[in-house]
Amino acid sequence: MMAKRLGRKRHVVRKIKGILLYCLCLIGIMISLVSLIILLYDAFTDGLPWLDFQFLTSFPSRFPEQAGILAALFGSIWVVSLVAIISFPLGVGAALYLEEYAPQNWLTSFIQLNIANLAGVPSIVYGILGLGLFVEALALGRSILAGALTMTLLILPVIIIASREAIRSVPQAYRAGAYALGATRWQVTRRIVLPQALPGMLTGAILALSRAIGETAPMIAIAALVYIRFVPTGPLDRFTVMPIQIFNWVNLPQHEFRGLAAAGIMVLLAILLGMNSIAIFIRNRYQKRAK
């Protein structure tokens, strides 16, 4: 009788413990989801009144109602285009070397370790690197090119890691078949591996580029805080980018500028959403074809 009651009591305690753990985990996931909703809601309600055609087509100004994001928008487009042109071939090249060519020796494993470590370096350190190397030593000044090269170094590890994964998903049998027909290594790489891995590489590259668009700290180190009242016309022009402009507005004491910052955030998030949708579209199309 006694033992039976004790057993039931223990049973109830176990049940309660189970429910408790479930609730804690549920709270955990709810905190992340609710934070995201509040974050977006906060930015959208602050920014919506400021987001209009005038905002998209104006240069920064001391007067909030005349200020816009045009220079920063074009600066971001310039930087991200240059980064795409430079980083994609380099990243894919490095990934092809490591997956298809590299011998298994100390140099290869050193390169791999190095790429893994570079992916963990804080972005502001890349900013300092760009400042010392591109702005000062190579005398590129605070130019679009210096910013793009800095960003290239920052996202290269990401592109390399994604591209390697795409290359690894190409079945070994395809390569073996081509080699059996007498193809050279580059022929196999270019005609068999590359076409198969390209969608995966593109998806990784677009995600990496969307990271480059949102990166703020290294761009501040390169571009500093300036009022740019013109659309850049060449890679050696001075520039600003959207995250810097947003940061700049957040830091101003007048509260109207926070509305502008929120409107800038909306434009930035819209661009990121667009790029991510393209990446997901490519991924899904490719996955369907693979079946």
Binding site: P122, V125, I128, L153, A217, A224
Partner: protein, 304 residues
């Protein structure tokens, strides 16, 4: 006959040359990453040596005041390191429980359909630019917290740390979830067969088996928090001081680098050079943390 073998021979040689050139080109693009590391070390050390020619390295690591922008100038990095540690602790106290809870929920409780909806949402959270989190901390979290702590300053470590914690959650949760999903189903089934309940299976079987991956995710979270820049630049203030009071305005290493980058010190001056010595310290700390993380992940990695 003779000429045709000749052209075939020369075509073969051309192709071999092409193969050789392409291999070298690909090799060069792979080696760029090594040069990047060398360039980082080179720039940081070169400029830092310049700096330490004028400021004693002992003062740099033992002095408890950091006032490069005022007279009298003191160059002690401890207040900046202290600010970084304070914000990191606050961020982790959010990111670890929330991230782990999310991971357990997704890997053990959530049905597949729910998982497929929730995971992309967490990925959105991970893709939001940090400047947006900074805006959120300053314009939403700080005013809310001021209702609870009226004495709190507008720029403070607490709201920057909390928001940074939310930012890191997706990383902790996805890495921990991967580690839990790698635990074989047979372990769980064995425990159920012995009469264990779900929470006992999770706490006594799944978590211990996935421990190395989970701990590695915490360590990577530390390194992310130390290196995070924009949230602290916007919301934590720019007053370097050694304090454990999260309601005060502080400055982190990354926040200081941003402040100087914005052009508050003349190009080339000693004050300007400080960003390289602070950057070097930051780089070395993060490197050590990352290496520990990789070591933990590898040392205790169990293949099932």
């Amino acid at each position: 006959m003779n000429t045709s073998t000749h052209t075939r021979e020369s075509r073969k040689r051309l192709r071999r040359l092409q193969e050789w050139i392409i291999e070298k080109l690909l090799f060069v693009s792979a080696v760029i990453s090594v040069f990047t590391t060398l360039a980082i070390l080179g720039v940081l050390f070169f400029e830092a040596i310049d700096f330490f020619g004028q400021v004693s390295i002992v003062e740099f690591f033992t002095e408890t005041r950091w006032t490069p922008l005022f007279k009298p100038q003191y160059f002690g990095i401890l207040p900046l390191v202290g600010g970084t540690v304070l914000v990191t602790i606050i961020a982790l106290s959010v990111a670890v429980p929330v991230g782990l809870g999310s991971a357990i929920f997704l890997s053990e409780y959530a049905p597949e359909r729910l998982r497929r909806i929730v995971k992309p949402i967490l990925e959105i959270l991970a893709g939001v630019p940090t400047v947006v989190y900074g805006y959120f901390a300053l314009t939403f979290v700080t005013p809310v917290l001021q209702n609870f702590f009226p004495q709190m300053i507008v720029f403070n470590a607490l709201s920057a740390g909390l928001v940074m914690g939310i930012m890191i959650v997706p990383m902790v949760s996805s890495l921990s979830e991967d580690a839990m999903l790698a635990v074989p189903q047979s372990f769980r089934q064995g425990a159920y067969a012995l009469g264990a309940q779900k929470h006992e299976v999770i706490l006594r079987i799944v978590l211990p088996s996935a421990l190395s991956g989970i701990v590695a995710s915490f360590i990577l979270a530390i390194s992310r928090a130390i290196g995070e820049t924009m949230i602290v630049s916007i919301a934590a203030g720019s007053t370097p001081k050694l304090t454990i009071n999260p309601l005060e305005s502080i400055q982190t290493m990354t926040g200081y680098i941003t402040q100087i980058s914005l052009g508050e010190a003349p190009f080339g001056s000693l004050e300007y050079r400080t960003i390289f010595s602070v950057g070097l310290t930051l780089f070395l700390i993060v490197l050590v943390v990352n290496l520990i993380g990789q070591w933990v992940a590898k040392r205790y990695w169990r293949r099932y």
